[in-house]
């Protein structure tokens, strides 16, 4: 109790200090309450979600009647027909389709240019996580044969000043144009042809037909890189010397009517305001035409919420499409979530019956859906891997989303197809017109949010609470451990209640700080080991021709060897003797330092990528709090202790990233067919996005001291 410490009859300490002392002395209870509250708040987030609203008044979505008519639909059909007929021909060298699209574009009076790019192999740079993509980096392994060819068409706004542009992106595989891709090209083309005639255009329109032969993201990213960071020095000339065969422009220009208009140069159109990636998938839906929105970009960055809002608004209220965002399907059938949802629903009913003003109850079905969406939103933000080609735009601070329109039935029926094209085209026209209304860039609405449904969101102010509650217990526990360490120490006669007070004590500072430094050194060593482990893959992937499995094995071996080597170099011992009293004190200090390091790390991470920090906190906070040396526990054979050991081991196992990955994967996809190589490739995909998660995983291991 607090009185026991505040016995000394001197001036009462300040209330805030008293509160601190109170919390520290009840740290166990406090941490349990905080953690439970944190988890509960996280589970409550779907209930706390607010409806979205269009924050920027200048957008005025849907205020104009769509001009997109059946004439444009016939245009789209024309392009789709010629693309599919091209595809049936055996020639298909890949360049045919680009030329065809370019011809269509130039007939509309657009400016056309081709953009040739070489796909880059995924290069992992351990120190390039948060830096901007730079143009000067590796281009050495450019092969002559494998290049992609983007086609870019630009409409200049008739009376605009050309300072801003809106980008339409249609990724398609130039080797084999699928029906969905052809339809997406058709929609984009029809919108493009409409936009050449309209008078309201204030921003230029860029239509990027991305050659997704080497991945959609790679094509878009290559174009954006050349748009923002062109290389003037003689690389192009050099390439032409090395690869004389692949001079695409010559191939393209032969017998072309539009020859004169197609410029070799890279054409630009000002600062990009917004980008829309359009995709069409075919016949997978059961009920009605639907629209999926993908928004997550690298490192959990999201586009402005207003962009999602206007797409959602126009799709639902103007075109009658069903809007979806990604959700975790496995969670929808979860029993406990359903039960929780029902409890919350009944609670909501009771609350409503008490006071009709309280409307926090939502139906159980909505709750489960919201939770599933929230989970996937958290997962993709935490993973840091963009969910589509729109992710490339976010690196240049351009708001972008991917819109995937899918139709109810297979589009064989002509009338059905026309209707689909009409709705898709009107939707995109509406979005472009709305963005065109905007004088400034998107800034009014949220950038930090989680979606629980296309029309509901949790803003940063709400979801921070869960994280803050989870994390709050860490400093308190660390402080109480520190205090305990001094209390059990027999060498100190006077019992100081707080670390602040102990710091003032001139006499005892030297031995105590040494102890503290010892623990810190140990923690630092483990962290260093974690850093080495996380940088090892960079060197491993330099080894040519190895399968994921072998490289994983190499990684495990190297990392386990590196720990003793490191400890040898730094000269610190890990031998625990008999569990005597000073040993135990050492251990308490060590735990205290570990927990404070974890706290600082989590707080920093929450600034960089909130979702990662949240998930990390969920895993690590219990682990940190419950960690006990095994030897001490095993010695005393009580059931309670044994349970604790079991918990510790389970959490440690979960916390170890490969194991955690397996368990998660197993839970979601079933345990069949998981190999060790899977983990390697998963990790590899994370690096290649130079994701912060990767750093995090490495850091994860360090906390397991």
């Amino acid at each position: 109790m607090a009185e026991s410490e505040a016995e000394v009859p001197k001036a009462k300490p300040r209330p805030i200090v008293r509160l601190g002392i109170f919390l520290i002395s009840h740290s166990c209870l406090f941490s349990v309450i905080c953690c439970t509250a944190g988890v509960l708040t996280l589970l409550l987030l779907p209930v706390l979600a607010k409806n979205t609203y269009i924050s920027e008044n200048a957008l005025m979505p849907g205020s104009a009647n769509p001009m997109f008519s059946s004439q444009e639909v016939s245009e789209a059909n024309r392009l789709v027909k010629s693309l599919t007929s091209l595809d049936s021909k055996p020639v298909g060298s890949g360049i045919e389709s680009q030329r065809l699209i370019a011809e269509y574009m130039s007939d509309l009076g657009a400016e056309i240019s081709y953009h040739k790019f070489y796909p880059r192999s995924n290069q992992f740079h351990p120190l390039h996580f948060f830096s901007y993509p730079d143009s000067g980096s590796t281009r050495e392994n450019v092969s002559c044969i494998s290049h992609g060819l983007n086609t870019v068409g630009i409409i200049r706004a008739p009376r605009g000043d050309g300072k801003e542009a809106i980008v339409l992106v249609t990724p398609y595989n130039s080797l084999k144009v699928g029906p969905g891709e052809a339809l997406s090209l058709g929609i984009a083309y029809s919108v493009f042809s409409l936009l050449t005639q309209v008078t309201w255009l204030a921003k230029d329109i860029i239509w990027l037909v991305a050659d997704s032969r080497y991945g959609e993201y790679a094509a878009v990213n290559a174009w954006l890189r050349d748009y923002h960071m062109p290389v003037f020095s003689g690389l192009s000339a050099l390439k032409a010397e090395i690869c004389p065969v692949s001079n695409v422009h010559n191939e393209l220009k032969e017998n072309s009517v539009t020859e004169r208009k197609i410029n070799d140069g890279f054409r630009r159109a000002g600062t990009m305001a917004t980008a829309l990636v359009i995709k069409v998938t075919d016949g997978s839906e059961h009920f009605e035409d639907s629209l999926s929105i993908y928004a997550e970009a690298s490192n959990g960055q999201m586009p402005n919420l207003d962009l999602i809002n206007i797409v959602n608004y126009l799709a639902v209220h103007r075109q009658g499409l069903r809007v979806k965002v990604e959700k975790m399907r496995s969670l929808i059938n979860c029993k406990w979530l359903k039960i929780l949802g029902e409890i919350l629903q009944s609670l909501g009913h009771v609350a409503k019956s008490l006071n009709p003003q309280w409307k926090f109850g939502i139906p159980a079905k909505d709750y489960v859906e919201g939770a599933a969406t929230l989970a996937s939103s958290l997962y993709y933000q935490a993973l840091g891997v963009p969910t589509g080609p729109h992710g490339a735009f976010r690196d240049y601070e351009i708001d972008a989303i991917t819109m995937e329109i899918s139709s109810r039935v297979a589009l064989n029926n002509k009338a059905r197809k026309n209707d689909f094209l009409l709705r898709g085209g009107r939707l995109i026209e509406g979005v472009i017109r709305t963005v065109n209304n905007l004088l400034e860039k998107f800034h009014q609405s949220f950038f930090l949010y989680l979606l629980t449904s296309p029309s509901k969101f949790v803003s940063v102010g709400v979801y921070m609470i869960a994280f803050a509650l989870l994390v709050a217990s860490l400093p308190v526990v660390a402080a109480s451990l520190y205090a305990d360490a001094h209390k059990v120490d027999p060498s100190f006669g006077i019992d100081k209640s707080t670390p602040q007070a102990s710091a003032t004590d001139e006499l005892s500072i030297t031995p105590r700080s040494c102890k503290w430094l010892n623990a810190a050194k140990k923690v630092f060593l483990v962290h260093l080991w974690g850093a080495v482990v996380s940088f090892l893959p960079y060197f491993i992937c330099q080894i040519p021709s190895c399968t994921p499995t072998t490289s994983f094995v190499v990684w495990v071996l190297l990392s386990s060897f590196s720990l003793p080597i490191l400890s040898l170099i730094l000269g610190s011992s890990f031998s625990y003797g008999r569990p005597s009293q000073p040993q135990k004190r050492d251990w308490t200090l060590l735990k205290s330092v570990t927990i404070s390091a974890a706290f600082i790390g989590l707080c920093l991470m929450s600034v960089i990528n909130f979702a990662t920090a949240e998930i990390g906190a969920l895993l690590m906070v219990p682990m940190c709090l419950m960690a006990q040396p095994l030897k001490l526990d095993i010695r005393s054979r009580k059931l309670r202790k044994f349970l604790r050991v079991a918990c510790n081991l389970a959490l440690g196992f979960l916390g170890f990233p490969p194991a955690g990955f397996f368990v998660l994967k197993g839970a979601f996809e079933g345990f069949g067919g998981i190999t060790v190589g899977d983990f390697w490739s998963w990790l590899e995909s994370i690096w290649s996005w130079s994701s912060a998660t990767y750093l995090y995983i490495g850091w994860f291991e360090r906390t397991r001291s």
Partner: protein, 673 residues
């Protein structure tokens, strides 16, 4: 000719010297300068990308104002302009309002119109003054305010020294007292056109300006109204007075009859047009005050070449076919009206062909017989416009809110190959390019980072840059100005210049409205001093009468403007002041609260109290509860005598009461529904 109205002249002169006056009206140069005169002209030119260029040219001349002619009465010349010239001693001035961009690729970049009438979007103003150096800035400021009032535009924003600059040699050869400023964001509208029209003697009530139907001219793809003023009298040349040239350049899209034509993949037929279809009006009469009132139809060199290629199959050259039908009809198009005369360009520099000018005099037409020129295309034809030797484009590089780079890329259009042959005699053939670039101060350009690439190879700056003048920007005082003279080899294919910059921070009240849009970097001016945009036509008596054609013959360098750039800068959250106020108030409240607490605390009392309590060792929780209950009941809290018993008793009572009240409240809520 005697019926020319001169209402203000004395009756005596009108009666007795009619013949002499008629001679003056069309007379020799000497007499011309003695009299105010006005002329109106319109040039129409079909453009390769199915559009039509219309270029109105109005010119007013005032005779030199002699020293004793203060308060001179003007007949035709706008008094506002004359006063402005007199007051600020403006040697030369040009003001342009532009909407849209000139497309140098498709509409040409070498002819006089594109080099002197293609302007950057927004407002551009430059003026040279005939005043001592230290007075130039003051004159400029006064001039901007005057023009702002005159043209209903925010030209007065050019007053601030951060917006204008003083180019020394790259912009205009005669400088020193020249100031240059642009407002890229100025919206151009009819309210700017109306005061401009008021300067014309016939306004838009008669003459060619009748064609200026507001909806049709603002529907166009490019719209630039310009006012150019020269008053050579300050330079000591007393023989000529003030010359005011007002031009309006619009690029219009004629309505094509068959919309289906637009999409056909075969070569397209140009849309036919007439004056009434593109402007919605016809020319009914000339402005009676105008000395000359002509309409020209210009066929570009490229088009003429195409025509001649076809005509070669026939024996007769169509241009020499003097019969009137020869003018009107040819395999490509029909003209609805016979031209009065045909002028041909001589000494064309580029290519083999030379442009052709059809001249129509409006004087013959009247209300009953309005003039409506029509052009009907019969067969598709493709041609291209003459291009400037290098096509310039400017763009931003980099991303993020910290730094970036400006790049100017120059790509050869192939024109200089013609000159290669001509200039090779001199030994080393060099292509000279002048670049003039103004950058606002919040874009902090590092001029030492200038890098030049020629044909994809990095070059030492000193090899390429012939002459350079840089005046770095000063925060909140002056913009950065860079003037460069570059010399490239004649066979240059592409060249690029890059300059790195840091993005600065503005004070919160310096942000303009709509700050989140970004900030503009005004257009760079790229000019080619070796190339002159001039068009000679066969010497003709009509030529002397036409100020527009004589302007085309003036030797002016080929010039092009680059794009306006938009730099996104970091913008604060503008609700931040509110937050700051809130936080400050909270901090103050905390501070004063604790200060008050310290002041009113009695330390002795507190120690006694503590001792008391230590003696009692009462359970704090119980005390707290009893205190709370006392507070709730509104009684003064008394120290419990028997702490353990009473506290538990009170707490029990309290709990019972709370439960009771809650139960009643719930029941009441439940049943009241």
């Amino acid at each position: 000719m005697a019926h020319l109205p001169r209402p203000t002249l004395s009756l005596f002169l009108v009666l007795s010297l009619q013949i002499i006056f008629s001679a003056i009206a069309f007379g020799s140069d000497f007499q011309e300068s003695d009299e105010e005169e006005f002329s109106e002209e319109l040039l129409l030119r079909p453009l390769p990308d199915r559009k039509v260029l219309a270029h109105f040219h109005f010119e007013s001349r005032a005779p030199p104002s002699l020293s004793d002619s203060h308060g001179r009465h003007h007949h035709l010349f706008p008094k506002a302009i004359a006063q402005l010239v007199q007051k600020f001693r403006v040697k030369e001035m040009e003001l342009s309002f532009t909407q849209g961009r000139w497309n140098y690729d498709r509409w040409g970049g070498f002819d006089p119109i594109s080099s002197s009438n293609a302007k950057p979007p927004g407002v551009e103003l430059w003026a040279a003054f005939d005043v001592p150096q230290y007075l130039v800035d003051a004159s400029w400021k006064n001039l901007t305010h005057t023009l702002s009032g005159l043209f209903c535009a925010s030209i007065n924003f050019l007053e601030s020294s951060t917006t204008y600059s003083a180019p020394e040699w790259s912009f205009h050869p005669s400088s020193g007292s020249l100031r240059y400023g642009t407002l890229p964001r100025e919206a151009v509208c009819t309210e700017n056109l109306t005061p401009w029209l008021k300067l014309l003697p016939c306004r838009d009530k008669a003459g060619l300006s009748v064609l200026m139907d507001r909806p049709s001219i603002y529907r166009g793809f490019y719209h630039s109204q310009q006012l150019r003023l020269t008053s050579p009298e300050f330079e000591g040349r007393l023989e000529s007075g003030i010359v005011l040239k007002q031009t309006l350049t619009v690029v219009l899209q004629p309505d094509s009859q068959g919309a289906s034509n637009t999409y056909s993949s075969e070569t397209k037929l140009q849309p036919s047009w007439s004056l009434s279809s593109i402007f919605g009006r016809k020319v009914t009469s000339r402005c009676v005050l105008a000395k000359s009132s002509n309409i020209y139809l210009q066929l570009e060199g490229g088009l003429v070449t195409e025509l001649e290629n076809v005509r070669k199959e026939n024996v007769i050259s169509w241009i020499d076919n003097v019969g009137s039908e020869g003018w009107r009809t040819n395999p490509f198009f029909d003209l609805s009206v016979n031209p009065d005369s045909v002028l041909r360009e001589v000494n064309s520099l580029h290519g083999s062909s030379s442009s052709v000018l059809y001249e129509y005099s409006v004087a013959k037409y009247s209300d009953s017989r309005p003039f409506d020129l029509g052009l009907k295309w019969k067969s598709p034809v493709v041609w291209s416009c003459p291009q400037a030797p290098l096509h310039a484009s400017r763009f931003l590089m980099g991303s993020g809110n910290e730094r970036g780079a400006i790049a100017i890329s120059l790509i050869s259009t192939g024109l200089n190959e013609h000159f290669l042959g001509a200039n090779i005699v001199e030994g080393s053939c060099k292509l000279e390019v002048d670049i003039f670039q103004v950058v606002p101060w919040y874009v902090k350009v590092y001029y030492h980072t200038l890098r030049v690439f020629v044909n994809g190879q990095p070059q030492a700056v000193t090899d390429v840059v012939e002459k350079m003048r840089v005046s770095p920007s000063e925060d909140k005082v002056s913009p950065g100005v860079m003037e460069l003279v570059l010399k490239f080899p004649c066979d240059v294919k592409s060249a690029a210049l890059t300059l790195e910059f840091d993005k600065g921070f503005l004070h919160i009240d310096e942000y303009p409205p709509d700050a989140n849009q970004g900030f503009d970097i005004p257009s760079a001016i790229i000019s080619f001093p070796n190339f002159h945009a001039r068009t000679h036509y066969f010497e003709d008596s009509s030529l002397k009468r036409s100020p527009m054609l004589s302007k085309f013959q003036e030797k002016s360098r080929v010039r092009s403007y680059s794009e306006v750039l938009l730099v996104p800068l970091t913008t604060p959250d503008f609700s931040m002041p509110y937050n700051v106020i809130t936080i400050t108030c909270t901090a103050f409240a905390l501070y004063f609260g604790s200060l008050l607490n310290v002041l009113r605390r009695r330390v002795g009392e507190e120690e006694r109290f503590l001792k008391n309590r230590a003696a009692k060792k009462a359970g704090r929780l119980a005390q707290l509860l009893s205190m709370l209950s006392a507070k709730i009941r509104g009684k003064k809290w008394e120290h419990p005598q028997s702490p353990s018993a009473s506290s538990s008793f009170i707490s029990l009572k309290l709990i019972v009461k709370v439960v009771l009240v809650t139960g009643i409240a719930i029941a009441w809520q439940y049943y009241s529904q």
